[in-house]
Amino acid sequence: MESIWYKILGAIITVIVAFIVGLTYMGLSRKITARIQNRKGPPFYQNFIDALKLASKTSAIHHGFMQHIGPAFMMITSIMSVLVVPVLTGDQWFSNLNFKGDLIFLLYIMVFGPLGMALGAGQTGNPNSAIGVTRGLSQMVGFEIPWVMALVALMMQYKTASIVDLINIQQEQGVWLMFSSPFAFIAAVLAMLGMFRYSPFDIVGAPTELASGPVSENGGKYLFTLMSSNSIFAFAKLTLYVDLFLGGASNIVELLIKTFAIYLIPMLYGTVSPRYRTEQAIKYFWGWPLFFGFLALLYAAIF
C-alpha cells in the first residue's frame, strides 16, 4: 500500500520536473539556435519569464466554451503521457504509473491532445486556426504511421507492450534497442522530427503563412497552458525515446544527458532547413520513414 503513495508523490514530482526540464530545453534550444545564427541569444531561463508573463496577462476574449477546452485537453494529454512513462528505471518513486500494455495506451493518448486542440481552435473562428488545424492533423497522419510501425515492431520482437519490460530486456542483454533493432530506431527518429514540430515540419504554426496557426486567437493564459503542456509533452516524448531505445536512465544526470542528446536532433536539423509544404511533409513521412518502418517489421518478424 505504501508503494502506491510513493508512486503518486513521485508522479507529481515528475510532472513538475517535466515542466521545468521541458522549458529549460526550449530555452536552451533558443540559445543554441541563436549561437548558430551568430548572435548572443536570450538567457536559457527566458522561457520561464515568458511563461510567467503569459500567465499574468489578461484574457478577456471569449470565443466559446471549446476554446477553454482545447488547451485543457492538451494539458491533460501531456500530463497523462508523462505519468505512464517510467522516468528513472529501478527507482521506486519515479517508475511512475505505468502498467502492462502502456505502449498502446500511449499511442492512443498522444493523438488525443491535438484532436482536442483542433476542436478548440475550430471554435475561435479564425481561418488561420482552421487551416493550421487541418495541417496539423494531416501532418500527424504522416508521422504516426512510421512511428506506430516502429513501436509495433518492438512489441512484436520482444513480445511485450510494457516499457518497463523493454528497459529490463535492454539491461539484461546489455545492448540498447537502438542497436539491436536499428530499423525501428531509424523510423522512430525520423517520425520524431515531425513530432517536435521544428523546421522543416513547423507547418502548423508557420508564421509567414498562417500567422501562428491554431493558436492565433489564443493569448495570455491559453498560450501559457499550451506552452507548459508542450514542454511537459516534449519531456514525456524524450523520456519515452530514452526508455525505448537508449536503455533508460538510472539517475537524473544520465536522463538529462540522454534526453538532451535526442532533443538536439530535431532542433539542429531545424536551424538549417526551410519549411515543407503540407503535402511535401506527408510525402516525406511516407517515403523513407515508412520504408524503415516496414524494414523494422520484417526484422521483427524474422528474428
Binding site: I131, A206, P274, Q280
Partner: protein, 367 residues
C-alpha cells in the same frame, strides 16, 4: 462536388506580407482560386508634397519612397533634374554614384536573402545576411551619415567626397561579403528542401511578363536579357564590364539564381569602379536653393534598382517647385495585376515566398 471557396484576408497585419498591404484570397482547401490586392496603407502623397517644396527640398523626400534600397530614387531624381537643366556632373561623382548604387544593391540583396528564406521558414539565413548587411550600412554611415536614408546623390554630383581610406574599407567589406555569399549558397542553394519548395512555384513566363510590363530580376528570371544598366546606360555603366545573368526557369528558383549571380556582379562592379576612380571635384555647385529655378520642360529617367527599373517623370514649369513628379517603382507593376494573376492556382503556403521573389515593395506602389 465543388468545394465552397472561403475568403482569407492576408494582411495588413500578417508576418508573411512584405510591408503593409493586403491580399484578399479566395481559397479552396489549400489552393488559391482568386486574389485581390488592396494597397494604399502607405500613401503619403509624396508627389503632392513635392509640388510645395523647392527643387532641393523635394530631393530629401526622394529617398523615402522605398526603404530597402533608397539610392536609385535619389539617382533618378538627380538625373532627371540634370536632364531638364542640362547640368553637367563631374566624372568622379559619376563613379562615386555607381559605387553607392551598387553598394545599396548589395545591401538590398542581403535583405532579400533574409526575406526569401524567412518566408520559407529558414530563419538562420535571415539572421546571417541581415546581420552582415550592417557592414554595408556602416560604410554608408561613414560616407553619408545615415544608415538607411542617405540623401547623398543629389543634382549636380554627390554631396561630399569619399573619406580618406574609404576605398580600402569598401574592398575589405567586399572580401568579407564574398566569403559570406559562399556560405549563403551552402545554406540556401544547396538545400534540398529549399529547392523542393521553390521549384515550379510562382511561374511568370515570357508572355505574362510582357503583358504585365514586368521588369528586373523577374524578367531576367524568365529568360529575357533586360537590364537598364546595359540597355539605357547611365552614369558610367557603359564603361564597366559586367554580365547580366538570366535564367530560364521562370519560377522562384530561377529568380533566386538570378539574384544570387547579380550579387556577385555588384561586387565585381564596385571593384572595377574603385580601380577606375578618377580624381577631381565631386560636385557642380547649384545656385541658391531658394532661388533655383529649372527651365520649362520634362524628363523621364530610368534606373535599375534591385527590383527592376524605376522610372521617374519630372515636369517643370520654369518655377521654383516641380510641377509634377511621378515615380513608377518596379513593384508598381508586379504587385497588383501580376500578383493577382500569379497567385491563382498556387498553394497558400507560397504566397509569402512569391511576394518576396517578385520583390513586392508596397511603399513604392503607394508613395
Amino acid at each position: 462536388m465543388r468545394e465552397k471557396a472561403t475568403t482569407l484576408y492576408l494582411g495588413p497585419q500578417h508576418p508573411g506580407i512584405t510591408g503593409n498591404m493586403m491580399i484578399r484570397l479566395k481559397v479552396e482547401g489549400d489552393t488559391i482560386v482568386g486574389a485581390t490586392t488592396e494597397v494604399g496603407y502607405l500613401h503619403r502623397a509624396f508627389e503632392k508634397l513635392q509640388e510645395k517644396r523647392n527643387w532641393l527640398q523635394s530631393f530629401t523626400l526622394m529617398c523615402r519612397f522605398c526603404v530597402p534600397e533608397t539610392d536609385p530614387m535619389e539617382e533618378s531624381y538627380a538625373r532627371a533634374v540634370e536632364a531638364i537643366e542640362g547640368r553637367e556632373v563631374p566624372e568622379r561623382a559619376k563613379y562615386i554614384r555607381v559605387m553607392v548604387l551598387e553598394l545599396a544593391r548589395l545591401a538590398s540583396f542581403m535583405l532579400w536573402y533574409g526575406g526569401q528564406n524567412g518566408s520559407l521558414g529558414l530563419y538562420t539565413m535571415g539572421q546571417w545576411s541581415v546581420g552582415d548587411r550592417n557592414y554595408i550600412l556602416d560604410l554608408f554611415e561613414e560616407l553619408t551619415g545615415g544608415r538607411v536614408y542617405h540623401m547623398y546623390i543629389w543634382p549636380g554630383g554627390v554631396r561630399r567626397d569619399l573619406p580618406k581610406g574609404f576605398e580600402q574599407r569598401v574592398l575589405k567589406t567586399l572580401n568579407y561579403l564574398e566569403k559570406r555569399l559562399d556560405d549563403y549558397d551552402d545554406l540556401m542553394f544547396d538545400n534540398a528542401i529549399f529547392k523542393k519548395r521553390v521549384q515550379g512555384v510562382g511561374i511568370v513566363n515570357k508572355e505574362k511578363a510582357i503583358e504585365h510590363g514586368v521588369v528586373g530580376p523577374v524578367l531576367r528570371g524568365c529568360g529575357i536579357k533586360s537590364d537598364i544598366r546595359i540597355d539605357d546606360p547611365y552614369e558610367v555603366y557603359d564603361k564597366l564590364d559586367f554580365e547580366v545573368p538570366t535564367s530560364d526557369g521562370a519560377d522562384i528558383w530561377a529568380r533566386a539564381l538570378v539574384r544570387r549571380r547579380e550579387a556577385r556582379q555588384s561586387i565585381r562592379i564596385i571593384r572595377q569602379v574603385i580601380d577606375m576612380m578618377p580624381g577631381g571635384s565631386v560636385y557642380n555647385k547649384i545656385p541658391n536653393p531658394q532661388k533655383w529655378t529649372l527651365p520649362k520642360g520634362d524628363a523621364y529617367v530610368r534606373t535599375e534598382s534591385v527590383r527592376g527599373e524605376i522610372g521617374m517623370y519630372i515636369a517643370s514649369d520654369g518655377g521654383l517647385n516641380p510641377r509634377r513628379v511621378h515615380l513608377r517603382g518596379a513593384a508598381y507593376v508586379h504587385a497588383i495585376t501580376l500578383l493577382e494573376d500569379v497567385l491563382i492556382g498556387e498553394n497558400i503556403a507560397d504566397v509569402s515566398a512569391i511576394m518576396n521573389s517578385l520583390g513586392t515593395c508596397p511603399p513604392e506602389i503607394e508613395r
